[in-house]
Symmetry: D2
Subunit: 352 residues, 4 copies
């Protein structure tokens, strides 16, 4: 039985970890960390867990937890883990960090986009970027620290990855127009996230400045072995869960000036995802819908080639709390402990 | 491995059966019946099941299916099963009927409220009303036909049952004001159920005439060993899933004129539900919310005693597609086959 | 031109006052009071008013405003107006108070339900309860202080009023099950009102203890000339606007034991509302929907007689921010200044 | 008094025409045309209009209506008006067509994208494309036929128009990622538009093939005096009203390689829209939200320059039923009859 601790268990991502791990046959949650609700029963904070979780919330003492747990999930604000992580802790326990602290390899980029000093840069190099479908071979029982990718990022990267990797699109033309449900904004009491402000409304935000931008660029840059600079525009949608990324890029033409065919593009997607359990490349003509993946760890991908403009429109959908956060974190944990990758993640999407 | 067939697999309740049975370790679905989509792949009708269900939809030939399956779920319109059920079929296969055909013991009442002739009344007596928490001992491997309760009904009955059973309320004063998400209206293309008609809107419907009324009255009548006549008012709410029943009844006063205390009422609820896995009586002062049970087989119940009026306000919440339909059907199936009652139903509510 | 000041202009009710008064041809808003946003442009707080309102928000100095305005609307928390109102202010300016401070004639009742001391009880008697359809003759140019009814209250009272007034129902049996959109909860940043907490969710709250209860009881008591004690249960619904009240009461039987007929009840509704512009008694068999009154000052009322139980089910729907708050306040203002009652309120409901 | 007839009065756009014209002081609606509801009272089809509209629905006999009306609005399916329009009709009455029949000047383009034959191409040249802010001087009392622009189109064009007109962006790089509320899909009973299918869901549709594409391209082509080929991707959002267009284009660099500044771009927007009542260019850093224009005729526009990619991200928001359909149609009607352009359109956006 793997003993798991969760720091930040009362945020939406933390709560989703609890939901998933509760049904994971090889895991026992030993620590529900929550700064705001110390000593309060977890099921009072999330009444859906009444009679399912009996524990009370505890402090976020990583040190103490490291002695009790085999793995710690940190679903905490940026800077938290970086501020307290030590070699001693890492020597005792594996960590899957759902924050951005160790996702970006270049400290300067992190500090610029996040506006905070990175207080433990010495672990950045060791941290594995936990996008399992791409970096699976680096996530092993020997790995100590996994930087779990962001929700927008997972969706944006996986949707374009095979084409960037194979050099089929002009990476300089990539535009990601992403739409997210509101759970991505967290459970903090902010006026902008009130029901009446979000419902029946839609807006873009963080235009040309959202923090997930450099994360996408870095990872796609590794894929294409080139610098990638993109436009990434997130939007807030009146729904609880779900991210839909609509991505545009110019296809590279063949020597004869023609565009690659649907079948050729399809073959590339199948090359990378054909055997992936959690990536479903939809059939020709089918556009992904966020509801089709709700509650599950799937990413659905579709694409259309526009002969008129020479662009490909790629679309990816996932549940931001599952594949975009907690589900992927568990997928990483499974790899860290040599379990089947989909253990505890056989979640059938819930419709409607 | 139990071989299960579903007639009406492409309605919302049928689809929920598929979702639940897909993860039930002792069941294999052998027949996805759907009159409207014969020969179409099931995953094209419900794209969330892409790469999870590979089968195509088949006809609704109960006869043929009876030879192949151990249990048949009929998630079909009223009158369908009653029109084709035969002794021969029942001799071969168990049936869990999600329609109303065998719920009401008095044929005249059925025919009056449903406005159709009952074409196989000979099976009504045999059918067990599958509200497991109440009729568990009648649902056994010897049982052939289960009438799975309606969604409003399950919620309305379970919320008031202990108090009616113990004679604590004046059954003649019972009023059930119920609110339902829109999935209860089915997947048929009706203008009234379009997004723009339902969203940002709320209404009562079927006032003093809804078909679930006599079902509630009959079952509570058995509980109280008396005639029960209620007001039942359903409302349509702009959400996908969930039923909330707010029930009002006058508490019987004690000889000294006082009302029963919170603790006395609570003890009665605990007597009936204290050991029930799927009924959660909430703590004092906590009102149920539909979101806390979403996706799960739980019913959450709370109550408040109003000293001013001498009434008790009981509140019950469930997911209409799970405990109100497919989940309860699987719970019944488990009992029919001697499996643990919660097999395949360890569904943790999804929040948010 | 009537000079109007609004204290609390940046709450949802205050913002609705701005929306309505902006199009009122006889009114000029001279003061946008907002404690939280002093010196900020109003259109930055409500971007929908960009280029429509150029003013900045000001303090809530009632004294100073009284010298500049002909009428002041106070859309403020309970206790605010009672804490600062003086004879001097009332001698200079008319006040329409959207809070509860002067609605309840019995100070003890107010102080018990609201849990605060009333600091200017000397004005309670003078204040007119501004339910125009009932108290129109008391709201005249001679009136100085109007207590604008609450949203739940307006809906609950108007729906039952004619039957209580004419003694057709047993007032002791009245139960009001009310459902409200979330704007009624205000614009304050509370976790419980976050989109992800409210969306896809429904719950009762304030069961047997909501503050609007005594207000309904008092006004219906005046109508029926008797003590009225009711059950009032509010519910939170995932929509922005709208209140639906479903009300249950036992009809008094005639000497021959029969119930009044539909036509008889209808005639009573028509007697009171037949000439009312803002109360629409729907046709037989039609149940009100909140969407049909959205954005308008209408109250829609329907009813069904249940011969089985001897009860009548009455249903009323209104927009909580319009007839339930700002629209009614303007209706009162029109009466206070001798204007046509519907001036500025010819708002056609917006559908969808 | 202008006598107005509406063909297609029971669709959502037709109903919005009724809502707006009902409050237009110079217009009387004389004909509520509705093929589906002939002889039914209009207020039974749209209960929000109960006691506001007393008329019954009538046939769609354009000939007969032409004798009675001064202006006809056709809110009808593609091909309807083109199939019955005659010189005789146009000699009697002005027509504002909300369908696409006369929007596209090149018949071949129309027939290709709409897949139907155009049956009265002789009127195409005469028809004025009724985007008032751009073609105002062609919409005069002498004009007989106005092709009212589509909802996506109005938003997409107005958002980019000044920059295309002034040659500031490379028109070949323009990508329009648009999101629409569900009322744009109409009131027809289709499964895909059921509440449970749309709610909590988001998807792209008509990718690289949506019919509004050539309309945008044509109009922007006139503006830029060049061929414009774009990517246009519409998305369905779980809200009733509102379109948000997020548009991406590469800014042309100056001779020194620098990008235009915010102020330079702003000046261009102000040049074209500074005096426009219904186009609000938001302040620096403010992104439009659909809720801010709901129920009104406004288009809100914002933009951000991304120095990293050299692109500008332009965002436009409008209410698809008002500025995207009925409001713009009334704006056109006002021009056709020499009325103030904003007559009847002083609609304050409704928030929340």
């Amino acid at each position: 039985m793997i003993k798991a601790g969760i720091i930040g268990a009362t945020g939406y991502a933390g709560a989703e970890l609890v939901r998933i791990l509760t049904n994971h046959k090889d895991v026992q949650i030993v620590w529900y960390g929550s700064k705001s609700y110390i000593d309060k029963r977890y099921s009072e904070v999330y009444q859906n867990m009444f009679r399912i979780v009996e524990d009370v919330c505890r402090d976020d003492r990583l040190q103490e937890l490291a002695d009790q747990a085999d793995v710690i999930f940190t679903a905490t604000p940026q800077g938290f883990l970086a501020g307290i992580l030590t070699e001693e802790i890492l020597s005792k326990v594996k960590i899957v960090d759902l924050s951005a602290d160790y996702r970006i390899k270049d400290v300067a980029v992190y500090e610029k986009w996040y506006g905070i000093e990175h207080r433990s840069p010495q672990f950045i190099q060791e941290a594995v970027y936990g996008l399992c479908e791409i970096n699976r071979d680096q996530i092993t029982p020997a790995t100590r620290l996994v930087a779990n990718p962001g929700c927008y990022t997972t969706c944006s990267i996986l949707t374009a990855y095979p084409l960037v990797k194979e050099g089929l699109i002009d990476a300089g033309t990539l535009i990601v127009d992403a739409k997210s449900g509101t759970s991505g904004a967290g459970r903090g009491a902010k006026m902008a996230n009130l029901f009446c402000e979000v419902n029946e409304n839609m807006k873009a935000y963080g235009v040309a400045s959202h923090r997930h931008t450099p994360e996408i660029e870095e990872q796609l840059g590794y894929a294409g072995n080139c610098d990638v600079t993109i436009n990434f525009t997130p939007h807030l949608v009146p729904m609880n869960r779900g991210i839909l990324a609509t991505e545009y890029a110019s296809l590279k033409r063949k020597p004869d000036g023609s565009l690659p065919s649907y079948e050729e593009i399809r073959a590339v997607y199948d090359k990378y995802y054909g055997k992936e359990k959690f990536v479903r490349v939809l059939e020709k003509g089918v556009c992904p819908e966020t509801k089709w993946v709700e509650g599950s760890n799937y990413v659905d991908i579709g694409f259309v080639i526009d002969e008129r403009t020479g662009r490909i429109i790629m679309m990816g959908a996932l549940d931001n709390l599952v594949k975009g956060a907690a589900g992927q974190a568990v997928q990483n944990m499974n790899l860290l402990f040599g379990l089947p990758e989909s253990e505890g993640l056989e979640l059938v999407p819930c419709f409607p």
